[in-house]
Protein backbone atom coordinates (compact mmCIF):
# COMPACT_ATOMS: atom_id res chain seq x y z
CA UNK A 1 0.00 0.00 0.00
CA UNK A 2 2.68 2.42 1.12
CA UNK A 3 4.83 1.54 -1.89
CA UNK A 4 2.00 2.28 -4.34
CA UNK A 5 1.22 5.62 -2.72
CA UNK A 6 4.86 6.49 -2.92
CA UNK A 7 5.30 5.21 -6.49
CA UNK A 8 2.55 7.52 -7.66
CA UNK A 9 4.07 10.31 -5.63
CA UNK A 10 7.43 9.53 -7.23
CA UNK A 11 5.92 9.90 -10.69
CA UNK A 12 4.48 13.28 -9.69
CA UNK A 13 7.77 14.46 -8.19
CA UNK A 14 9.65 13.33 -11.28
CA UNK A 15 7.16 15.03 -13.56
CA UNK A 16 7.47 18.21 -11.52
CA UNK A 17 11.28 18.08 -11.72
CA UNK A 18 11.24 17.45 -15.48
CA UNK A 19 8.91 20.39 -15.95
CA UNK A 20 11.04 22.65 -13.80
CA UNK A 21 14.11 21.95 -15.95
CA UNK A 22 12.47 21.79 -19.37
CA UNK A 23 15.45 22.39 -21.64
CA UNK A 24 17.65 19.96 -19.79
CA UNK A 25 14.97 17.28 -19.79
CA UNK A 26 14.26 17.75 -23.49
CA UNK A 27 17.94 17.44 -24.43
CA UNK A 28 18.32 14.31 -22.36
CA UNK A 29 15.16 12.83 -23.82
CA UNK A 30 16.33 13.55 -27.37
CA UNK A 31 19.24 11.13 -26.87
CA UNK A 32 16.83 8.34 -26.03
CA UNK A 33 14.43 9.35 -28.82
CA UNK A 34 17.16 9.13 -31.47
CA UNK A 35 18.27 5.72 -30.26
CA UNK A 36 14.80 4.24 -30.06
CA UNK A 37 13.69 5.70 -33.39
CA UNK A 38 16.77 4.39 -35.18
CA UNK A 39 16.53 0.89 -33.79
CA UNK A 40 12.80 0.48 -34.27
CA UNK A 41 12.94 1.92 -37.79
CA UNK A 42 15.76 -0.43 -38.78
CA UNK A 43 13.82 -3.36 -37.34
CA UNK A 44 10.72 -2.24 -39.24
CA UNK A 45 12.76 -1.99 -42.45
CA UNK A 46 14.25 -5.44 -41.99
CA UNK A 47 10.82 -6.87 -41.39
CA UNK A 48 9.47 -5.10 -44.43
CA UNK A 49 12.35 -6.49 -46.44
CA UNK A 50 11.68 -10.01 -45.13
CA UNK A 51 8.07 -9.64 -46.07
CA UNK A 52 8.84 -8.37 -49.57
CA UNK A 53 11.51 -10.96 -50.15
CA UNK A 54 9.52 -13.98 -49.04
CA UNK A 55 6.63 -12.76 -51.17
CA UNK A 56 8.87 -12.52 -54.24
CA UNK A 57 10.77 -15.70 -53.66
CA UNK A 58 7.65 -17.77 -53.16
CA UNK A 59 7.22 -17.54 -56.96
CA UNK A 60 10.17 -19.93 -57.22
CA UNK A 61 9.03 -23.27 -55.84
CA UNK A 62 11.17 -25.09 -53.31
CA UNK A 63 10.80 -28.14 -55.57
CA UNK A 64 12.33 -26.57 -58.66
CA UNK A 65 15.95 -26.78 -59.89
CA UNK A 66 17.49 -24.63 -62.61
CA UNK A 67 20.37 -25.95 -64.74
CA UNK A 68 22.15 -22.85 -65.97
CA UNK A 69 25.51 -21.64 -67.19
CA UNK A 70 25.98 -19.29 -64.22
CA UNK A 71 25.17 -19.78 -60.56
CA UNK A 72 22.70 -17.22 -59.13
CA UNK A 73 25.05 -15.99 -56.48
CA UNK A 74 28.50 -15.05 -57.69
CA UNK A 75 31.11 -12.35 -57.47
CA UNK A 76 32.53 -10.36 -60.39
CA UNK A 77 35.54 -12.67 -60.53
CA UNK A 78 33.29 -15.69 -60.82
CA UNK A 79 31.72 -14.27 -63.94
CA UNK A 80 35.07 -14.15 -65.75
CA UNK A 81 35.75 -17.71 -64.64
CA UNK A 82 32.40 -19.05 -65.81
CA UNK A 83 31.88 -17.18 -69.06
CA UNK A 84 34.07 -19.68 -71.01
CA UNK A 85 31.77 -22.50 -70.03
CA UNK A 86 29.95 -24.30 -72.80
CA UNK A 87 26.44 -23.05 -73.41
CA UNK A 88 23.60 -25.25 -72.26
CA UNK A 89 21.77 -26.57 -75.30
CA UNK A 90 18.32 -27.80 -76.24
CA UNK A 91 19.75 -31.25 -76.87
CA UNK A 92 21.01 -31.39 -73.31
CA UNK A 93 17.55 -30.41 -72.10
CA UNK A 94 16.06 -33.31 -74.08
CA UNK A 95 18.63 -35.73 -72.63
CA UNK A 96 17.91 -34.51 -69.10
CA UNK A 97 14.19 -35.00 -69.64
CA UNK A 98 14.81 -38.51 -70.94
CA UNK A 99 17.13 -39.57 -68.09
CA UNK A 100 15.94 -37.75 -64.94
CA UNK A 101 13.90 -40.16 -62.82
CA UNK A 102 13.05 -37.75 -59.98
CA UNK A 103 11.65 -35.03 -62.25
CA UNK A 104 7.98 -34.56 -63.05
CA UNK A 105 8.69 -31.96 -65.73
CA UNK A 106 11.74 -30.61 -67.56
CA UNK A 107 11.41 -27.43 -69.56
CA UNK A 108 14.11 -25.73 -71.58
CA UNK A 109 13.82 -21.98 -71.53
CA UNK A 110 15.20 -19.13 -73.53
CA UNK A 111 14.08 -15.56 -73.36
CA UNK A 112 14.27 -12.18 -75.03
CA UNK A 113 12.38 -8.92 -75.01
CA UNK A 114 10.38 -7.91 -78.09
CA UNK A 115 7.51 -5.65 -79.09
CA UNK A 116 4.11 -7.24 -79.64
CA UNK A 117 1.68 -5.61 -82.05
CA UNK A 118 -1.97 -6.18 -82.81
CA UNK A 119 -3.39 -3.91 -85.47
CA UNK A 120 -2.63 -0.37 -84.23
CA UNK A 121 -1.80 -1.33 -80.67
CA UNK A 122 1.65 -2.27 -79.38
CA UNK A 123 3.20 -3.40 -76.16
CA UNK A 124 6.94 -2.86 -75.93
CA UNK A 125 9.66 -4.84 -74.16
CA UNK A 126 7.56 -7.92 -73.60
CA UNK A 127 9.40 -10.88 -72.08
CA UNK A 128 9.22 -13.61 -74.77
CA UNK A 129 9.99 -17.12 -73.54
CA UNK A 130 10.66 -20.05 -75.83
CA UNK A 131 9.91 -23.32 -74.08
CA UNK A 132 7.97 -26.59 -74.17
CA UNK A 133 4.63 -27.75 -72.79
CA UNK A 134 6.38 -28.81 -69.53
CA UNK A 135 6.77 -25.13 -68.72
CA UNK A 136 3.17 -25.11 -67.55
CA UNK A 137 4.25 -27.40 -64.70
CA UNK A 138 7.78 -26.11 -63.95
CA UNK A 139 6.73 -22.47 -63.82
CA UNK A 140 3.19 -23.03 -62.69
CA UNK A 141 1.99 -21.09 -65.75
CA UNK A 142 -1.71 -21.86 -65.84
CA UNK A 143 -3.80 -20.34 -68.62
CA UNK A 144 -6.74 -18.47 -67.26
CA UNK A 145 -8.41 -18.58 -70.60
CA UNK A 146 -7.73 -20.75 -73.66
CA UNK A 147 -4.97 -23.35 -73.37
CA UNK A 148 -1.22 -23.66 -72.84
CA UNK A 149 1.29 -24.96 -75.45
CA UNK A 150 0.68 -28.60 -76.31
CA UNK A 151 3.36 -31.18 -77.13
CA UNK A 152 2.23 -30.98 -80.71
CA UNK A 153 2.61 -27.20 -80.82
CA UNK A 154 6.19 -27.66 -79.65
CA UNK A 155 7.17 -30.63 -81.77
CA UNK A 156 5.86 -29.01 -84.96
CA UNK A 157 7.21 -25.56 -84.10
CA UNK A 158 3.82 -23.96 -84.55
CA UNK A 159 3.65 -20.18 -84.56
CA UNK A 160 1.35 -19.94 -81.54
CA UNK A 161 1.65 -17.96 -78.34
CA UNK A 162 0.23 -17.80 -74.83
CA UNK A 163 0.18 -14.19 -73.67
CA UNK A 164 0.38 -12.58 -70.26
CA UNK A 165 -2.58 -10.99 -68.57
CA UNK A 166 -1.47 -7.39 -69.05
CA UNK A 167 -0.49 -7.92 -72.71
CA UNK A 168 -4.01 -9.26 -73.37
CA UNK A 169 -5.52 -6.24 -71.62
CA UNK A 170 -3.48 -3.75 -73.58
CA UNK A 171 -3.82 -5.32 -77.01
CA UNK A 172 -7.36 -6.59 -76.96
CA UNK A 173 -9.22 -4.75 -74.24
CA UNK A 174 -12.75 -6.17 -74.57
CA UNK A 175 -12.07 -8.35 -77.64
CA UNK A 176 -11.60 -12.10 -77.42
CA UNK A 177 -7.87 -12.64 -78.13
CA UNK A 178 -8.10 -16.37 -78.88
CA UNK A 179 -7.33 -17.07 -82.53
CA UNK A 180 -6.14 -13.51 -83.21
CA UNK A 181 -2.80 -13.08 -84.94
CA UNK A 182 -0.27 -10.87 -83.22
CA UNK A 183 3.08 -9.67 -84.47
CA UNK A 184 5.99 -10.56 -82.19
CA UNK A 185 9.28 -9.03 -83.30
CA UNK A 186 8.22 -9.15 -86.95
CA UNK A 187 6.66 -12.63 -86.99
CA UNK A 188 3.03 -13.62 -86.83
CA UNK A 189 1.83 -15.77 -83.95
CA UNK A 190 -1.66 -16.99 -83.19
CA UNK A 191 -2.91 -16.44 -79.63
CA UNK A 192 -4.06 -19.70 -78.00
CA UNK A 193 -4.27 -18.74 -74.33
CA UNK A 194 -3.96 -16.05 -71.70
CA UNK A 195 -2.00 -16.61 -68.49
CA UNK A 196 -3.42 -15.75 -65.10
CA UNK A 197 -2.25 -12.57 -63.42
CA UNK A 198 1.18 -13.04 -61.82
CA UNK A 199 2.38 -9.67 -60.53
CA UNK A 200 6.00 -8.60 -60.13
CA UNK A 201 9.05 -10.76 -59.69
CA UNK A 202 12.13 -8.84 -58.51
CA UNK A 203 11.17 -5.79 -60.51
CA UNK A 204 9.97 -7.61 -63.64
CA UNK A 205 6.34 -7.37 -64.53
CA UNK A 206 5.45 -11.02 -65.15
CA UNK A 207 2.19 -10.08 -66.86
CA UNK A 208 3.98 -8.37 -69.76
CA UNK A 209 4.91 -11.77 -70.99
CA UNK A 210 4.42 -14.25 -73.87
CA UNK A 211 5.28 -17.93 -74.23
CA UNK A 212 6.02 -19.54 -77.62
CA UNK A 213 7.30 -23.00 -78.65
CA UNK A 214 11.07 -23.17 -78.32
CA UNK A 215 11.50 -24.22 -81.98
CA UNK A 216 9.49 -21.20 -83.11
CA UNK A 217 11.67 -19.01 -80.90
CA UNK A 218 14.79 -20.46 -82.55
CA UNK A 219 13.58 -19.79 -86.08
CA UNK A 220 12.19 -16.33 -85.25
CA UNK A 221 14.94 -14.87 -83.04
CA UNK A 222 17.80 -17.37 -83.36
CA UNK A 223 19.69 -18.82 -80.42
CA UNK A 224 23.23 -19.22 -81.63
CA UNK A 225 25.85 -18.53 -78.99
CA UNK A 226 23.11 -18.30 -76.41
CA UNK A 227 22.79 -20.54 -73.42
CA UNK A 228 19.37 -21.82 -72.48
CA UNK A 229 18.32 -22.74 -68.98
CA UNK A 230 16.67 -26.00 -68.02
CA UNK A 231 13.96 -25.76 -65.42
CA UNK A 232 13.31 -29.03 -63.59
CA UNK A 233 10.32 -29.71 -61.34
CA UNK A 234 11.11 -32.42 -58.80
CA UNK A 235 8.52 -34.94 -57.56
CA UNK A 236 8.61 -33.50 -54.03
CA UNK A 237 10.55 -30.79 -52.18
CA UNK A 238 12.11 -33.53 -49.97
CA UNK A 239 13.80 -35.04 -53.01
CA UNK A 240 15.50 -31.79 -54.08
CA UNK A 241 18.98 -32.84 -52.88
CA UNK A 242 18.76 -36.26 -54.52
CA UNK A 243 17.45 -34.71 -57.72
CA UNK A 244 20.29 -32.20 -57.72
CA UNK A 245 22.71 -35.12 -57.38
CA UNK A 246 21.03 -37.00 -60.19
CA UNK A 247 21.00 -33.97 -62.51
CA UNK A 248 24.68 -33.30 -61.79
CA UNK A 249 25.44 -36.90 -62.81
CA UNK A 250 23.42 -36.60 -66.02
CA UNK A 251 25.05 -33.30 -66.99
CA UNK A 252 28.57 -34.56 -66.25
CA UNK A 253 27.90 -37.65 -68.35
CA UNK A 254 26.53 -35.56 -71.23
CA UNK A 255 29.54 -33.32 -71.12
CA UNK A 256 31.95 -36.22 -70.73
CA UNK A 257 33.64 -34.70 -67.72
CA UNK A 258 36.51 -36.65 -66.14
CA UNK A 259 36.52 -37.58 -62.45
CA UNK A 260 38.75 -34.65 -61.55
CA UNK A 261 37.01 -32.07 -63.76
CA UNK A 262 34.91 -29.41 -62.11
CA UNK A 263 31.28 -29.00 -63.11
CA UNK A 264 31.00 -26.66 -66.08
CA UNK A 265 27.38 -25.78 -65.36
CA UNK A 266 25.42 -24.59 -62.35
CA UNK A 267 22.38 -26.08 -60.66
CA UNK A 268 20.41 -23.29 -58.97
CA UNK A 269 17.61 -23.51 -56.45
CA UNK A 270 15.52 -21.27 -54.21
CA UNK A 271 17.48 -22.06 -51.04
CA UNK A 272 20.57 -20.41 -52.57
CA UNK A 273 18.72 -17.09 -52.69
CA UNK A 274 17.33 -17.71 -49.24
CA UNK A 275 20.81 -18.35 -47.82
CA UNK A 276 22.18 -15.28 -49.54
CA UNK A 277 19.35 -13.17 -48.22
CA UNK A 278 19.69 -14.48 -44.71
CA UNK A 279 23.39 -13.64 -44.75
CA UNK A 280 22.57 -10.17 -45.94
CA UNK A 281 19.98 -9.55 -43.23
CA UNK A 282 22.31 -10.99 -40.61
CA UNK A 283 24.49 -7.96 -41.34
CA UNK A 284 21.50 -5.65 -41.05
CA UNK A 285 20.55 -7.17 -37.71
CA UNK A 286 24.11 -6.71 -36.50
CA UNK A 287 23.94 -3.05 -37.53
CA UNK A 288 20.61 -2.64 -35.74
CA UNK A 289 21.93 -4.23 -32.57
CA UNK A 290 25.14 -2.19 -32.79
CA UNK A 291 23.32 1.09 -33.29
CA UNK A 292 20.90 0.13 -30.54
CA UNK A 293 23.67 -0.67 -28.09
CA UNK A 294 25.58 2.54 -28.82
CA UNK A 295 22.54 4.79 -28.60
CA UNK A 296 21.46 3.01 -25.43
CA UNK A 297 24.85 3.73 -23.95
CA UNK A 298 24.93 7.37 -25.06
CA UNK A 299 21.35 8.00 -23.94
CA UNK A 300 22.02 6.26 -20.65
CA UNK A 301 25.13 8.32 -19.95
CA UNK A 302 23.09 11.45 -20.68
CA UNK A 303 20.54 10.37 -18.10
CA UNK A 304 23.19 9.54 -15.54
CA UNK A 305 24.81 12.93 -16.07
CA UNK A 306 21.54 14.83 -15.69
CA UNK A 307 20.65 12.88 -12.56
CA UNK A 308 24.01 13.56 -10.95
CA UNK A 309 23.50 17.28 -11.55
CA UNK A 310 19.98 16.96 -10.23
CA UNK A 311 21.11 15.15 -7.05
CA UNK A 312 23.67 17.85 -6.33
CA UNK A 313 21.21 20.66 -6.94
CA UNK A 314 18.60 19.03 -4.78
CA UNK A 315 20.85 18.06 -1.88
CA UNK A 316 18.89 20.39 0.44
CA UNK A 317 15.61 18.92 -0.74
CA UNK A 318 16.90 15.41 -0.09
CA UNK A 319 17.94 16.53 3.41
CA UNK A 320 14.47 17.93 4.08
CA UNK A 321 12.77 14.81 2.82
CA UNK A 322 14.97 12.64 5.00
CA UNK A 323 14.40 14.85 8.05
CA UNK A 324 10.64 14.46 7.76
CA UNK A 325 10.78 10.72 7.37
CA UNK A 326 11.86 9.63 3.88
CA UNK A 327 13.77 6.39 4.01
CA UNK A 328 16.77 5.53 1.84
CA UNK A 329 14.60 3.45 -0.44
CA UNK A 330 12.13 6.34 -0.86
CA UNK A 331 14.88 8.66 -2.10
CA UNK A 332 16.34 5.88 -4.26
CA UNK A 333 13.00 5.32 -5.95
CA UNK A 334 12.40 9.02 -6.39
CA UNK A 335 15.46 9.31 -8.61
CA UNK A 336 15.02 5.95 -10.32
CA UNK A 337 11.48 6.90 -11.27
CA UNK A 338 12.77 10.18 -12.63
CA UNK A 339 15.32 8.31 -14.75
CA UNK A 340 12.71 5.87 -16.00
CA UNK A 341 10.32 8.68 -16.81
CA UNK A 342 12.89 10.38 -19.02
CA UNK A 343 13.32 7.01 -20.75
CA UNK A 344 9.59 6.40 -20.97
CA UNK A 345 8.96 9.77 -22.60
CA UNK A 346 11.89 9.18 -24.96
CA UNK A 347 10.68 5.69 -25.85
CA UNK A 348 7.10 6.82 -26.49
CA UNK A 349 8.21 9.66 -28.76
CA UNK A 350 10.73 7.32 -30.39
CA UNK A 351 8.09 4.69 -31.15
CA UNK A 352 5.72 7.30 -32.57
CA UNK A 353 8.48 8.71 -34.79
CA UNK A 354 9.44 5.22 -35.92
CA UNK A 355 5.83 4.43 -36.81
CA UNK A 356 5.68 7.66 -38.81
CA UNK A 357 8.97 6.94 -40.58
CA UNK A 358 7.92 3.38 -41.44
CA UNK A 359 4.69 4.66 -42.90
CA UNK A 360 6.61 7.16 -45.02
CA UNK A 361 8.90 4.34 -46.21
CA UNK A 362 5.96 2.04 -46.91
CA UNK A 363 4.18 4.79 -48.84
CA UNK A 364 7.14 5.96 -50.94
CA UNK A 365 9.04 2.69 -51.59
CA UNK A 366 7.98 -0.89 -52.40
CA UNK A 367 9.13 -1.94 -48.92
CA UNK A 368 6.15 -2.78 -46.71
CA UNK A 369 7.97 -1.50 -43.59
CA UNK A 370 5.83 -1.74 -40.49
CA UNK A 371 6.36 -1.45 -36.73
CA UNK A 372 5.06 -4.58 -35.03
CA UNK A 373 3.56 -5.03 -31.58
CA UNK A 374 6.64 -6.48 -29.99
CA UNK A 375 8.49 -3.16 -30.30
CA UNK A 376 6.27 -2.02 -27.46
CA UNK A 377 7.78 -4.77 -25.34
CA UNK A 378 11.20 -3.81 -26.66
CA UNK A 379 10.39 -0.24 -25.58
CA UNK A 380 9.45 -1.37 -22.09
CA UNK A 381 12.69 -3.30 -21.81
CA UNK A 382 14.50 -0.14 -22.90
CA UNK A 383 12.80 1.95 -20.23
CA UNK A 384 13.51 -0.45 -17.42
CA UNK A 385 17.09 -1.32 -18.37
CA UNK A 386 18.38 2.15 -19.22
CA UNK A 387 16.50 3.79 -16.38
CA UNK A 388 17.59 1.28 -13.77
CA UNK A 389 21.11 0.74 -15.03
CA UNK A 390 22.09 4.37 -15.44
CA UNK A 391 19.85 5.73 -12.70
CA UNK A 392 21.03 3.44 -9.94
CA UNK A 393 24.34 5.20 -9.29
CA UNK A 394 23.00 8.77 -8.96
CA UNK A 395 19.96 7.50 -7.07
CA UNK A 396 21.97 5.56 -4.54
CA UNK A 397 24.27 8.55 -4.17
CA UNK A 398 21.21 10.60 -3.24
CA UNK A 399 19.85 7.90 -0.95
CA UNK A 400 23.13 7.65 0.96
CA UNK A 401 23.35 11.37 1.71
CA UNK A 402 23.69 12.18 5.37
CA UNK A 403 20.60 14.21 6.32
CA UNK A 404 22.50 16.60 8.58
CA UNK A 405 25.05 17.47 5.92
CA UNK A 406 22.38 17.61 3.24
CA UNK A 407 20.36 20.11 5.30
CA UNK A 408 23.42 22.27 5.79
CA UNK A 409 24.32 22.19 2.05
CA UNK A 410 24.31 25.61 0.41
Amino acid sequence: MRIFIYMWEGVKIAFEALRAYKMRSILTTVGIVIGVTTVITIVALIQGLNHAFSREISAIGTDTLFIQKYPWIMTDDDWFKYRNRKNITLEEAEEVKASATLATAVAPQIGTRRTIKYEEKTVERVIIVGTTSDYAITSNAMPEYGRFLSENDVSSNRAVCVIGWEVAQKLFDQLDPIGKRVNIGGRKFRVIGILEKKGNFFGHNMDIFAVIPVGAFKSAFGMRRRSIEIEVKVKSPDLIEEAEYELTGIMRRLRKLGVTDENDFAINKQSMLMDFYNNFTKTLWAVAIGVGAISLLVGGIGIMNILLVSVTERTREIGVRKAIGARKSDILWQFLIEAMMICAIGVIIGILLAIGLSQVVAATTPLPAAVTWWVVILGLVFVVTIGLFFGIYPASKAARLNPIEALRYE
Binding site: I5, R321, K322, G325, K328, I404
Partner: protein, 228 residues
Protein backbone atom coordinates in the same frame (compact mmCIF):
# COMPACT_ATOMS: atom_id res chain seq x y z
CA UNK B 1 8.79 10.78 30.77
CA UNK B 2 8.98 11.67 27.10
CA UNK B 3 12.72 12.06 26.60
CA UNK B 4 15.44 10.39 28.63
CA UNK B 5 19.14 11.05 27.86
CA UNK B 6 21.51 8.77 29.81
CA UNK B 7 25.10 9.96 29.72
CA UNK B 8 25.08 10.72 25.98
CA UNK B 9 28.45 11.32 24.34
CA UNK B 10 29.21 12.17 20.75
CA UNK B 11 32.69 11.97 19.31
CA UNK B 12 33.45 13.05 15.73
CA UNK B 13 36.55 11.71 14.08
CA UNK B 14 37.87 14.17 11.53
CA UNK B 15 40.86 12.40 10.01
CA UNK B 16 42.94 11.40 13.00
CA UNK B 17 41.59 14.16 15.23
CA UNK B 18 38.84 13.25 17.66
CA UNK B 19 36.40 15.98 18.58
CA UNK B 20 34.22 15.46 21.62
CA UNK B 21 31.05 17.37 20.84
CA UNK B 22 29.03 15.98 23.75
CA UNK B 23 30.84 14.71 26.82
CA UNK B 24 28.15 12.95 28.80
CA UNK B 25 24.74 14.55 28.91
CA UNK B 26 21.98 13.30 31.12
CA UNK B 27 18.59 14.98 31.06
CA UNK B 28 14.87 14.34 31.01
CA UNK B 29 12.11 16.21 29.27
CA UNK B 30 8.47 15.58 30.08
CA UNK B 31 5.46 15.78 27.88
CA UNK B 32 4.15 19.30 27.29
CA UNK B 33 7.33 21.00 28.48
CA UNK B 34 8.59 24.09 26.62
CA UNK B 35 12.36 23.89 26.66
CA UNK B 36 14.98 26.23 25.23
CA UNK B 37 18.46 24.89 24.56
CA UNK B 38 21.09 27.61 24.63
CA UNK B 39 24.81 27.89 24.42
CA UNK B 40 27.58 29.61 22.50
CA UNK B 41 28.76 28.16 19.23
CA UNK B 42 30.85 25.07 19.75
CA UNK B 43 28.96 24.26 22.93
CA UNK B 44 27.41 21.18 21.30
CA UNK B 45 23.86 22.46 20.98
CA UNK B 46 23.62 21.57 17.28
CA UNK B 47 24.88 18.08 17.98
CA UNK B 48 22.41 17.73 20.83
CA UNK B 49 19.59 18.87 18.56
CA UNK B 50 20.58 16.39 15.83
CA UNK B 51 20.55 13.55 18.31
CA UNK B 52 17.27 14.73 19.87
CA UNK B 53 15.79 14.89 16.36
CA UNK B 54 17.05 11.39 15.52
CA UNK B 55 19.06 12.75 12.59
CA UNK B 56 22.17 11.38 14.25
CA UNK B 57 22.95 8.76 16.86
CA UNK B 58 25.09 9.04 19.98
CA UNK B 59 28.53 7.49 20.20
CA UNK B 60 27.72 6.26 23.69
CA UNK B 61 24.79 6.41 26.08
CA UNK B 62 21.10 5.69 25.71
CA UNK B 63 18.35 7.87 24.33
CA UNK B 64 14.79 6.84 25.12
CA UNK B 65 12.06 8.61 23.17
CA UNK B 66 8.58 7.55 24.24
CA UNK B 67 10.23 4.48 25.83
CA UNK B 68 11.86 3.47 22.51
CA UNK B 69 15.64 3.11 22.68
CA UNK B 70 16.60 5.28 19.74
CA UNK B 71 20.34 4.65 20.15
CA UNK B 72 19.87 1.09 18.89
CA UNK B 73 17.94 1.91 15.73
CA UNK B 74 19.04 1.62 12.12
CA UNK B 75 18.57 4.27 9.43
CA UNK B 76 15.11 3.17 8.31
CA UNK B 77 13.79 2.94 11.87
CA UNK B 78 15.20 6.41 12.58
CA UNK B 79 13.44 7.72 9.48
CA UNK B 80 10.19 6.30 10.77
CA UNK B 81 10.73 7.80 14.23
CA UNK B 82 11.47 11.21 12.69
CA UNK B 83 8.33 10.93 10.65
CA UNK B 84 6.07 9.93 13.51
CA UNK B 85 7.56 11.54 16.63
CA UNK B 86 9.34 14.70 15.50
CA UNK B 87 8.29 17.87 13.76
CA UNK B 88 11.20 19.98 12.56
CA UNK B 89 11.19 23.76 12.20
CA UNK B 90 14.39 25.09 10.62
CA UNK B 91 15.99 28.51 10.60
CA UNK B 92 15.91 28.56 6.76
CA UNK B 93 12.38 27.08 6.56
CA UNK B 94 13.54 24.31 4.19
CA UNK B 95 10.38 24.14 2.13
CA UNK B 96 10.39 22.49 -1.29
CA UNK B 97 10.53 25.52 -3.60
CA UNK B 98 8.48 24.06 -6.46
CA UNK B 99 5.70 22.62 -4.32
CA UNK B 100 2.65 24.50 -3.04
CA UNK B 101 2.20 25.18 0.67
CA UNK B 102 -0.36 22.40 0.78
CA UNK B 103 1.96 19.89 -0.86
CA UNK B 104 4.82 20.88 1.46
CA UNK B 105 2.61 20.17 4.45
CA UNK B 106 1.45 16.88 2.95
CA UNK B 107 5.00 15.60 2.56
CA UNK B 108 5.39 13.86 5.96
CA UNK B 109 2.06 12.10 5.35
CA UNK B 110 3.27 10.83 1.98
CA UNK B 111 6.19 9.09 3.65
CA UNK B 112 3.98 7.24 6.11
CA UNK B 113 1.56 6.13 3.44
CA UNK B 114 -1.50 8.16 4.39
CA UNK B 115 -4.07 7.89 1.58
CA UNK B 116 -4.37 11.00 -0.59
CA UNK B 117 -7.83 12.14 0.48
CA UNK B 118 -7.02 11.97 4.20
CA UNK B 119 -3.69 13.64 3.49
CA UNK B 120 -5.33 16.68 1.93
CA UNK B 121 -7.69 17.05 4.85
CA UNK B 122 -4.98 16.79 7.52
CA UNK B 123 -2.72 19.21 5.65
CA UNK B 124 -5.51 21.75 5.28
CA UNK B 125 -6.28 21.48 9.00
CA UNK B 126 -2.64 22.07 9.89
CA UNK B 127 -2.44 25.11 7.61
CA UNK B 128 -5.63 26.39 9.25
CA UNK B 129 -4.00 26.15 12.69
CA UNK B 130 -1.18 28.49 11.62
CA UNK B 131 -3.61 30.86 9.91
CA UNK B 132 -2.68 30.11 6.32
CA UNK B 133 -5.86 28.44 5.07
CA UNK B 134 -6.13 31.06 2.32
CA UNK B 135 -2.54 30.60 1.11
CA UNK B 136 -2.43 26.84 0.64
CA UNK B 137 -2.01 26.91 -3.15
CA UNK B 138 0.83 29.41 -3.10
CA UNK B 139 4.41 28.39 -3.64
CA UNK B 140 7.09 29.42 -1.12
CA UNK B 141 8.40 32.24 -3.34
CA UNK B 142 4.91 33.75 -3.30
CA UNK B 143 4.90 33.90 0.51
CA UNK B 144 6.60 36.21 3.00
CA UNK B 145 9.28 34.92 5.39
CA UNK B 146 6.84 34.69 8.28
CA UNK B 147 4.31 32.88 6.12
CA UNK B 148 6.96 30.42 4.98
CA UNK B 149 7.91 29.66 8.54
CA UNK B 150 4.25 29.12 9.34
CA UNK B 151 4.01 26.62 6.47
CA UNK B 152 7.04 24.87 7.98
CA UNK B 153 5.31 24.81 11.38
CA UNK B 154 2.19 23.33 9.77
CA UNK B 155 4.38 20.67 8.19
CA UNK B 156 5.91 19.93 11.62
CA UNK B 157 2.44 19.64 13.16
CA UNK B 158 0.66 17.61 10.54
CA UNK B 159 1.71 14.18 11.78
CA UNK B 160 0.82 15.07 15.36
CA UNK B 161 4.37 14.42 16.61
CA UNK B 162 5.59 13.96 20.20
CA UNK B 163 8.09 16.82 19.91
CA UNK B 164 8.28 20.00 17.88
CA UNK B 165 11.96 20.69 17.46
CA UNK B 166 12.88 24.18 16.27
CA UNK B 167 16.38 25.28 15.33
CA UNK B 168 16.72 29.11 15.52
CA UNK B 169 13.15 29.46 14.19
CA UNK B 170 13.29 33.27 14.10
CA UNK B 171 16.88 33.60 12.90
CA UNK B 172 15.88 34.62 9.38
CA UNK B 173 12.95 36.85 10.37
CA UNK B 174 12.59 40.43 11.49
CA UNK B 175 11.74 40.88 15.16
CA UNK B 176 8.04 41.61 14.64
CA UNK B 177 7.53 38.48 12.50
CA UNK B 178 9.71 36.55 14.94
CA UNK B 179 7.34 37.53 17.73
CA UNK B 180 4.39 36.25 15.71
CA UNK B 181 6.12 32.91 15.30
CA UNK B 182 6.87 32.74 19.03
CA UNK B 183 3.20 33.43 19.73
CA UNK B 184 2.27 30.46 17.56
CA UNK B 185 4.74 28.37 19.55
CA UNK B 186 3.13 29.45 22.80
CA UNK B 187 -0.29 28.55 21.43
CA UNK B 188 0.97 25.15 20.37
CA UNK B 189 2.43 24.66 23.83
CA UNK B 190 -0.86 25.55 25.41
CA UNK B 191 -2.58 23.03 23.16
CA UNK B 192 -0.43 20.34 24.77
CA UNK B 193 2.56 20.04 22.42
CA UNK B 194 6.09 19.48 23.67
CA UNK B 195 8.29 22.29 22.34
CA UNK B 196 12.08 22.27 22.15
CA UNK B 197 13.71 25.41 20.74
CA UNK B 198 17.42 25.71 20.05
CA UNK B 199 18.52 29.35 20.11
CA UNK B 200 21.28 31.69 21.13
CA UNK B 201 18.97 34.64 21.73
CA UNK B 202 17.85 35.27 25.29
CA UNK B 203 14.56 36.91 24.37
CA UNK B 204 13.54 33.83 22.37
CA UNK B 205 14.49 31.58 25.26
CA UNK B 206 12.39 33.82 27.52
CA UNK B 207 9.25 32.33 25.97
CA UNK B 208 10.10 28.89 27.34
CA UNK B 209 9.51 27.45 30.80
CA UNK B 210 12.92 25.84 31.09
CA UNK B 211 16.35 26.77 29.77
CA UNK B 212 19.10 24.21 29.32
CA UNK B 213 22.48 25.91 28.90
CA UNK B 214 25.33 23.98 27.32
CA UNK B 215 29.04 24.70 27.46
CA UNK B 216 31.85 22.55 26.07
CA UNK B 217 29.63 19.54 25.54
CA UNK B 218 28.20 19.50 29.04
CA UNK B 219 25.05 20.85 30.66
CA UNK B 220 26.15 24.03 32.39
CA UNK B 221 22.82 24.99 33.87
CA UNK B 222 19.29 23.55 33.66
CA UNK B 223 16.70 25.83 35.22
CA UNK B 224 12.95 26.03 35.27
CA UNK B 225 11.51 29.49 35.06
CA UNK B 226 9.32 31.17 37.59
CA UNK B 227 5.63 31.05 37.16
CA UNK B 228 5.50 27.77 35.25
Amino acid sequence: MLIQFNNITKIYEIGTVKVEALRGITLQIDKNEYVAIMGPSGSGKSTLMNILGCLDTATQGDYFLNKNNVSEMDDDQLAEIRNREIGFVFQTFNLLPRATALHNVELPLIYNGTPASQRKKLAKDALGKVGLADRMHHKPNELSGGQRQRVAIARALVNNPSIILADEPTGNLDSRTGDEIMEIFEDLHELGNTMIVVTHEEYIAEHSNRIIRLRDGLVERDEAKHGS
